[in-house]
């Protein structure tokens, strides 16, 4: 049977409005609320709970859950189902995310909406399966071969796991791009209170379906019905008879493997359809920045100890503030540049050996000192550790 979102059934399956749950389960809740009709997944720590949640809930709302043979297959299946016109999702962690890179690139090239939750753990390779990390922040941006951009969101709380999963679907549908929730083992396994938004408390964006005359429809070019670089979506089975290929293709979707202009035009469009909206996409939280002289720039789990340090510092009269990046890619260039002109020093705590500190350095004013506060091995920074780093910069 073909999936149709049924709010009443979804809410019946989700249960109480206020719950105390894990981040991973909140991701599954977010997917269900957004209207996911197909989930393909493969077991992997610390992301398995997302698939388990989907296996439990999705059949009860008439959606399809399949445990695929591997993460390559999971990614492939969600793209196939997306061309069938459904909202689709998978969840994984580092080793699986590496396997997904092949079809992540395919989804980018073919402008296929879908959502991936990457519950990050340490790496490279198998690393520390049960422990959180933020080591894939560059992989999500650059991991596929060729020129690409990413849309990636970083939740810091369990509530954000739910809310941002919905947001991932909205952005994915809007831009026809695979959108990645870059959560991690800490937030994924953390239990916190979540409030399930009511129907009227959520905004859901659906991909714009192709509607114009079939003979006049051009599948891979600017929208023919709106002022947008995102083409209207000709779901399979709707009579548009669209050919979809990962090869460089012309506007009609036919392979154009030896044509420089076609390649340039295609890749430029699928990148700028997102980067043109950098300002619209920018999503940051500012804490105590009004008079700050020094600031943390954080994202995801690392924001939690950093926020404590801001409170500690303020108590002790230190003019410390924090900028929390909620949407990491496309990178919020302007916000970082403006902050760097306001404060003397930016400290970037990360659970890796320095990843987001690179674009921060790239877009910060040369007069601002950038400090990379690194911690690996599957442990978060303790507030005391961060406080010492802060003190050293005063």
């Amino acid at each position: 049977m073909k999936y149709e979102r049924d709010p009443e059934r979804i809410r019946r399956v989700l249960g109480d409005k206020v719950q105390f749950i894990q981040g991973d389960i909140a991701v599954a809740y977010g997917g269900l609320l957004a209207g996911v009709g197909f989930f393909g997944g493969y077991p992997i720590t610390p992301a398995s709970e997302v698939a388990e949640g989907m296996a439990r809930m999705l059949p009860r709302v008439k959606g399809t859950f399949i445990q695929m043979e591997d993460e390559i297959g999971s990614m492939a299946a969600i793209i196939g189902a997306s061309w069938g016109g459904q909202k689709t999702m998978t969840a994984t962690s580092g080793p699986g995310f590496s396997l997904m890179m092949e079809n992540y690139g395919y989804a980018i090239m073919t402008e296929t909406p879908c959502v991936i939750a990457n519950v990050q753990r340490t790496g490279p390779s198998t690393g520390q399966p049960t422990l959180g990390a933020q080591g894939d922040m560059m992989q999500v941006r650059w991991g596929s071969h060729g020129d690409m951009v990413a849309i990636a969101l970083c939740p810091s709380t369990v509530q954000e796991c739910l809310d941002m999963t919905i947001e991932c679907f909205n952005l994915s549908e809007k831009y026809r791009h695979p959108v990645v929730l870059m959560t991690d083992g800490e937030v994924g396994h953390l239990r916190e209170k979540v409030i399930i938004p009511d129907e009227d408390e959520m905004e859901l964006f659906e991909r714009i379906p192709a509607t114009i005359d079939k003979d006049k429809f051009i599948p891979f070019t600017n929208s023919q019905t709106r002022d947008s670089k995102v083409p209207d979506f000709p779901a399979f089975g709707t009579g548009y008879r669209t050919y979809v290929t990962g090869l460089t293709h012309n506007k009609m979707g036919y392979p154009a493997t030896d044509k420089q202009k076609d390649h340039e035009e295609l890749i430029t469009r699928i990148i700028t359809k997102i980067t043109d909206d950098r300002e619209i996409l920018t999503d940051v939280e500012e804490i105590e920045l009004e008079d700050a002289e020094i600031a943390f720039v954080t994202y995801g789990a690392s924001a939690r100890p950093a926020e404590s340090v801001v409170r500690m510092g303020r108590k002790n009269g230190i003019k410390i503030g924090m900028l929390r990046i909620k949407l990491a890619w496309p990178f919020p260039r302007r916000v970082i540049n403006e902050l760097s002109k306001k404060v003397n020093t930016i400290i970037v705590p990360e659970m890796n050996l320095g990843q987001m500190v690179h674009p921060i350095t790239e877009y910060a004013d040369a007069g601002c000192k950038i400090v990379s506060a690194q911690k690996i091995g599957g442990e978060m920074h303790l507030p005391d550790e961060l406080y010492k780093i802060l003190e050293a910069e005063l």
């Binding site: 073909k2 390559i72 492939a76 089975g237 009579g239 979809v244 290929t245």
Partner: protein
């Protein structure tokens, strides 16, 4: 019986003229296979708006681009995983996969195993030409022992993959193998495969004179077609000789490639089973909802 179309009418209905000419070399069997699929669809009177063609990478995987229907030309070896998702989203559509021996059983072997094991309701047209043709003639998992390829320049020493036997062991609903050199059996099997609930595999032996034939003294297409006749045997014939033949007769056929219908079973496809599961859960949930808490 439906009135037969001539080849030109068939071409007009099913082919994308903008994509002509095809990438296929002279003597390639893939065009024959495509033709057989057209005949099968025509006889089944399929609505082209409700059929999707998927493929991976390789010469055979270019075929969906030539068909006037929805087509998903995916990554190398992954077509069956993509198709699994597509079929889940659109169970009302027929999904027909074009794949090659390297695509399906080399890089895509794992997806093949699991799509067949799950009995996913799709039809797989596997064009086996014993070689990686598009990349210039490297050794395939299906290459006969002793055959020459650019990466087995001194002759292949690996056992060839028996794809149909594997699919049969995995419980695929329908499994058949035919050379493209005779049209009627392939067309019949393609029809049966499309109509079958569950996973249908039709392996078509398709000659590649350019990348395989030339290096193996079979560059002339007539020789390749003759090779099929000399080296294949109907499975019923094979069994008969193995049961009742003389030692000489057995020796003569033991390394021949068996052709025919390997498996033809009625059993629920994956999505039928899934729908039953959903119905069961919905019934329980609805009962609970009606009865209050």
């Amino acid at each position: 019986m439906k009135e037969m179309m001539n080849a030109n009418e068939l071409r007009k209905k099913y082919l994308v003229e903008d994509m002509m000419p095809t990438i296929f070399c002279n003597g390639c069997g893939h065009g024959n296979a495509l033709d057989y699929v057209f005949w099968a669809m025509e006889e089944l009177e399929l609505d082209l708006d409700k059929v999707a063609f998927t493929s991976g990478i390789g010469c055979s995987s270019r075929i969906p681009g030539y068909i006037n229907a929805d087509g998903l030309h995916t990554t190398h070896g992954r077509a069956l995983a993509f198709s699994t998702g597509l079929k889940a989203a659109r169970p009302d559509m027929d999904v027909i996969v074009f794949t090659g021996d390297g695509d399906c059983t080399g890089i895509g072997g794992n997806h093949f195993i699991h799509a067949a094991r799950r009995n996913i309701d799709i039809t797989v047209i596997l064009l086996n030409n014993f070689i990686y043709g598009m990349t210039g003639g490297q050794q395939a998992p299906t290459a006969p022992i002793g055959s020459i390829a650019t990466t087995s320049p001194y002759g292949n020493i690996e056992q060839a993959f028996n794809i149909c036997e594997l699919a049969k062991a995995l419980g695929a609903a329908y499994v058949a193998r035919w050379p493209v050199s005779h049209p009627y059996q392939p067309i019949k099997s393609i029809k049966e495969g499309i109509q079958k609930e569950g996973f249908a595999l039709i392996e078509l032996m398709s000659p590649c004179p350019t990348a395989y034939g030339r290096r193996n003294k079979l560059g002339n297409i007539e020789k390749l077609w003759q090779w099929y006749d000399d080296n294949t045997i109907l499975m019923e014939e094979y069994d008969k000789i193995m049961d009742y033949g003389t030692e000489e007769e057995k020796e003569a056929i033991k390394s021949m490639i068996q052709i025919g219908v390997f498996q033809d079973e009625e059993k629920p496809g994956f999505f039928e089973a899934y729908d039953e599961l959903v119905d069961r859960l919905i019934e329980i949930d609805d009962k609970k909802a009606q009865g209050g808490k």
